[in-house]
Amino acid sequence: MRRDFLKSCGLAGLSLAVPYVPPAAAEPIRPAEPYPGPYYVVFNASGGWDTTYLMDPKGISGINRLYREGDIRTQGAHRFAPNQKHATGGMSNEEFYAEFGAELLTFNGLDYSTNNHSPGARYMATGKLDSLAYPTFAALVAACRGATCPIAFLTFGNYSATGNLVAMSRVPYLPSLRTIANADAISGNTRTPFHDPFALERIEAALAAHHASRATQPRLPRVERGENMLYAAQVNSQALQRVTQYIPASIPKERLAQQAEIALASFKAGVCVSANLSIGQFDSHANNDKDQMKLIPELLAGVAYLLRRAGELKIREQLVVIIQSEMGRTPNYNAGNGKDHWSIGSALFLGRGIRGNRVLGATDGQQFAAAFDPAKLVVSPETGIRIRPEHLHQALREFAGIADHPMSQKFPLDVKAPNRLHQFFG
């Protein structure tokens, strides 16, 4: 009963209309149940990736200097740019598609609708271009699915607005979680608690009672929200104890792998719903090919690391992975051998419930988006529309089963029914 009581508090952020009970008969307060999945991971290639060097190869019209059209590789339904010879570190496209192509869903011809980093990042993260208030998909799904989790929404950068629905967690270094996981024990040693158990139970009960009594008093909405979030944060923090067992003895050196380890340990412990993983420097205005040949393999290696480690932790079947960027790069090189911003690009998806080995949408020979029929899921100049981030986000919300959640409805995407992507994920 206590657990349900706390759960509902955290889930809805609602006031607790429970009368004051003196703390004499203390009830033990338990942290929320482990969140079992699915777990959502959004990879951000921050700065704007060159999709023609990955999932939307061209090799014509001077778009790519490192390969020609005839060099384009295939893996099942996928066509991808070859980069094994040029990749500097990380994982080549060839390796990535060989290992994950069967699971991978690609969408090409996404219209980012803007050429600027900030609006693009915001738009891709939230599905809304012209609002600073909307939550990112990762935050929204965390709020809808598991707001009681102590680090429900984990972020390592990129646009991370929460819409005030859920707290954002940043965990810069995994061992730092170990420090706080047993916050009620001296030096983290559970055999030496700060307070004797009977005293701690009464502290918790007094806090619960005080919180409940506050709910009966008139409060400003902001005060009510803040008090509820604080109370939930402290109660749910106890679940962090579960993380310590999954903190690996050695920390990987690669930046995405480090982020992945933190996310996976949190998923495995059932304390996290979603994570925003990010690497930057894709903004290759100078020396595009050199930069992209370094960063795309690094990105793919990070994705592969996450998936492989999730397999080792036996949670891979619960992962939903989204790989995106806030813009693409021009079909031509500038004077500095770089490529500037381009408002057409792609996104990749794989994981639980996503039917792989598919490529939807397209761009033409000049990297312009082809109109896409959202009902039939085919390119169609006649019945197609421009697919923009809100279309993908509407599909993601439906796929995650949160489209009708009150929190989602608070942030509508205004995609009319005929324009919604039908069974996009399979």
Partner: protein, 774 residues
């Protein structure tokens, strides 16, 4: 509001009739303006249609500046001139509304993309904005295609925003202010003064608080949250002091004579410290400039006009001017003592690297021209100073250029269609006409990455960009050498500057940005959101006006905000259940989660020492920023932060309680009225315990409770319940836990478990919102 301000005897604040700050490009509703002729235009047409959809282009310097509809931007004039500007704008709209076309007024035809409207179809006929405009045309006597249904945008159910909102009583306001501004509790004298004089005593106290060093630490921290200059990448001395101009001096510490330190290891450590302090001092210069301006009561416009920078003995060495200025330092060995200095014009290793200057001095323009600001927001060959421009507009004029970026129907096609899209494609021009001239003002800072900052582009500035200038005014060639000064002068005169600084102070005080105008008119709570937004704009505009009148003294802005209803709002008299009322009050009330730095300071203020663990990774975990990658503080506590709160409460209570009991009663900070054998159960003992709780509530929570209050009852119950429960526990130690007594020389025994029960009470209180939030 007037009544309150009159009561406190603080300067009379009179709301201007049309006091709303309306900024270019913002879709901001206007207030009803008694002086204006047409409330419908002001309340409906202007905010919901014109400000959002027309103003950006239809103004001098805008893309439609040659059209028949030319508007004036109310944000560019002070509040006294706004009524006239609105009247002129309204008249311009009426003229267009009265021009008949086939089926409708020319205004309605144009806005839907007809008659070759350069901006295309700005509104669709089924939109709320179109219906508002059609109603305006109808009211003006113009031709409308049908009788439009007017959207309901005001709710008669909404009472004035602060109705039934309970304000913080004066002594608690004092505590909030001293903790916020100076990280300390009020003194007994200050509390007594406020008890005597109520709010009227507060301004003088705030003046004193704002003279304390702790205030300036908070000021620097707060403004760094905005300008983020602490987030310099790379090594500060090489990122800011270019090899071309400072190669002989920037690494001075490497040759600094430390031979007086005989021990080699100690000498090496001293060298490390020298470099570390030098770097910290260099990085801190921009925020020290802000400190200097405020501390000296100088016009805050100097953040864009100051013809000096702040240097310390260490950074002066980096600039190569130490010998010239060392006599001005009180302590030339203090790396963090700062004085204002004018640099001479930069002289390069080669003649071509020499800086032009008509005065022989570097053309300082406050923060704008500091090497730190320029290095924090660098440029690239393709970016062409546009990042700097974006940050300039955001930091100093409160305009988010990228928030203005409208959806482009096909950005890729536009890019491909035009040779110079930023000068030719309407979708691009709308922003670039504003952005690129300012980018041109930064043209002499044309070095990339680690190659320095000052340097002119070979072949001159780009011709495929709008000419250097500011909002329609071109930079005269003779002013090029001092282009940033030229910009700073115009910035200081721009009404948006004062407004933006007022908004910055609000952010520093509350931890959140001012409200944005609601956009979705179909939202049933639109009117409520709009009410909150309008009320806040009133205060912003009011305080901005007073800021200007005070000669831009920033301390007045802090004081004005502290006296505002927004800062003092503390609760509601009756439960709020109406969704619209809830929405209107959504952002009212402080309820700010303390940052790691603030929480440490508050802990130190209450307990005499900080916790000492909220730094580096722990601070990041607690929602802090690094000014580089992480630039936004967490505003809501995550579970990880909840765990840190537990840890903090446990450790601080562990450290404090036994130590306090070990002191003589007269010297105790918390437990002067009780002893370890003061047990609940007798009237006398209960009274002492309750008095102790009242003091704990006061000190830790900032509450003024009576001994018989429910709040005190709750805490008493906790203490008594633990003491009672301890009696039934077997084999309990009669001493405080080892870890909590080890640092106390002669810890008292705890045979009745009262010391540990008091520790539990302190832990409980430190986990409460009143301690963890502001």
């Amino acid at each position: 509001m007037r009544q309150t301000l009159t009561q406190i005897g603080y300067a009379v604040l009179v709301l201007s009739a049309c006091s709303q700050a309306i900024r270019a490009g913002d879709a901001q509703p206007a207030l009803a303006c008694p002086a204006a002729d047409d409330p419908y235009f002001l309340q409906e047409v202007w905010p919901k249609v014109v400000a959002r959809s027309c103003l950006t282009c239809h103004k001098a310097g805008g893309d439609a500046e040659k059209s028949r509809l030319i508007l004036r931007d109310p944000a560019r004039v002070d509040e006294n001139a706004r009524a006239e500007v609105f009247r002129q704008n309204r008249d311009a709209f009426v003229r267009l509304a009265l021009v008949p076309e086939k089926n409708a007024s020319r205004l309605l035809v144009k806005v839907t993309g007809g008659l070759d409207h350069g901006g295309g179809d700005v509104l669709t006929p089924d939109s709320a904005g179109y219906r508002i405009l059609a109603e305006f045309v109808r009211r003006s006597g113009g031709k409308t295609p049908h009788s439009p249904a007017i959207p309901q945008t005001t709710s008669p159910r909404l009472p004035p925003l602060f109705t039934d909102v309970v304000m913080l009583e004066p002594t608690r306001l004092l505590r909030r202010a001293t903790l916020s501004l100076a990280g300390r509790l009020p003194t007994a004298a200050e509390l007594a003064a406020v008890k005597r004089g109520q709010l009227s005593a507060l301004p003088a106290i705030l003046d004193q608080v704002m003279a304390e060093d702790a205030f300036y630490e908070r000021l620097r921290e707060g403004f760094n949250d905005i300008f983020l200059t602490d987030g310099l990448t790379g090594t500060p001395e090489t990122a800011t002091l270019s090899y071309d101009h400072f190669h002989k001096t920037r690494l001075w510490y490497q040759k600094f004579d430390l031979s007086h330190i005989p021990d080699e290891k100690a000498r090496r450590q001293a060298g490390y410290k020298l470099a570390k302090d030098y770097r910290a001092a260099l990085t801190a210069e921009p925020m020290r400039l802000i400190e200097y301006i405020v501390r000296q009561n100088r016009p805050f416009t100097e953040i864009v006009t100051a013809d000096y920078i702040m240097v310390s003995p260490y950074t002066a060495r980096g600039y190569g001017i130490f010998d010239e200025v060392k006599s001005r330092f009180q302590n030339p060995d203090n790396p963090f003592e700062y004085i204002p200095v004018r640099l001479r014009t930069l002289v390069g290793r080669e003649k071509s690297q020499n800086q032009e200057s008509a005065t022989g001095f570097y053309p300082h323009a406050g923060l704008l021209s500091t090497f730190q600001y320029l290095a924090r927001y660098p440029t690239t060959e393709t970016n062409r100073n546009r990042l700097r421009t974006r940050m300039y507009y955001q930091h100093f004029l409160g305009v988010d250029l990228l928030e203005l970026a409208a959806r482009v129907s096909d950005a890729a096609a536009v890019t491909a269609q035009y040779k110079v899209p930023t000068m030719q494609a309407p979708e691009c021009v709308v922003c670039h006409r504003t952005m690129d001239p300012v980018a041109g003002l930064f043209q002499d800072y044309w070095k990339f990455a680690d190659q320095g900052l000052y340097g002119r582009r070979k072949g001159g500035w780009f011709s495929d960009m709008f000419s250097p200038g500011f909002e329609g005014e071109n930079l005269p060639p003779s002013e090029r050498w001092r282009a940033l000064q030229w910009l700073g002068e115009r910035t200081a005169q721009d009404p948006r500057f004062a407004t933006t600084m007022v908004e910055h102070v609000y952010f520093i005080l509350t931890g959140r940005r001012v409200l944005l105008p609601p956009k979705d008119e179909s939202d049933p709570l639109f009117a409520a959101h709009e009410q909150a937004y309008r009320e806040q704009r009133k205060w912003v505009d009011l305080i901005a006006g007073r800021f200007r009148q005070s000669g831009f003294n920033l301390k007045n802005v802090f004081k004005d905000w502290i006296f505002s209803d927004f800062y003092r709002a503390d609760g509601v008299a009756t439960r709020v259940t109406d969704p619209a009322r809830k929405a209107a009050l959504d952002d009212v009330g402080m309820m700010r989660l303390l940052s790691p730095e603030q929480l440490e300071r508050k802990t130190a203020a209450i307990f005499g020492e900080p916790w000492g663990r909220l730094h580096d990774q722990m601070a990041m975990l607690y929602g802090g920023i690094d000014s580089q990658e992480v630039t936004e503080r967490a505003t809501d506590p995550s579970g990880a932060m909840g765990a840190i709160q537990r840890l903090l409460a446990n450790e601080v209570a562990c450290r404090q309680v036994a130590r306090d009991f070990a002191r003589p009663a007269t010297e105790r900070r918390f437990f002067a009225h009780v002893e370890p054998d003061t047990l609940p159960g007798s009237e006398a003992a209960d009274q002492k315990i309750r008095e102790t709780i009242v003091q704990l509530h006061s000190r830790i929570l900032g509450r003024n409770d009576r001994t018989d209050s429910t709040e005190v009852d709750e805490t008493f119950q906790l203490f008594a319940a633990i003491v009672q429960a301890a009696q039934s526990q077997k084999q309990l130690d009669t001493r405080e836990t080892y870890a909590c007594r080890q640092s106390t020389p002669a810890p008292p025994a705890d045979p009745h478990y009262t010391i540990r029960a008091w520790r539990a009470v302190m832990t409980y209180l430190m986990r409460r919102p009143e301690f963890l939030y502001e």
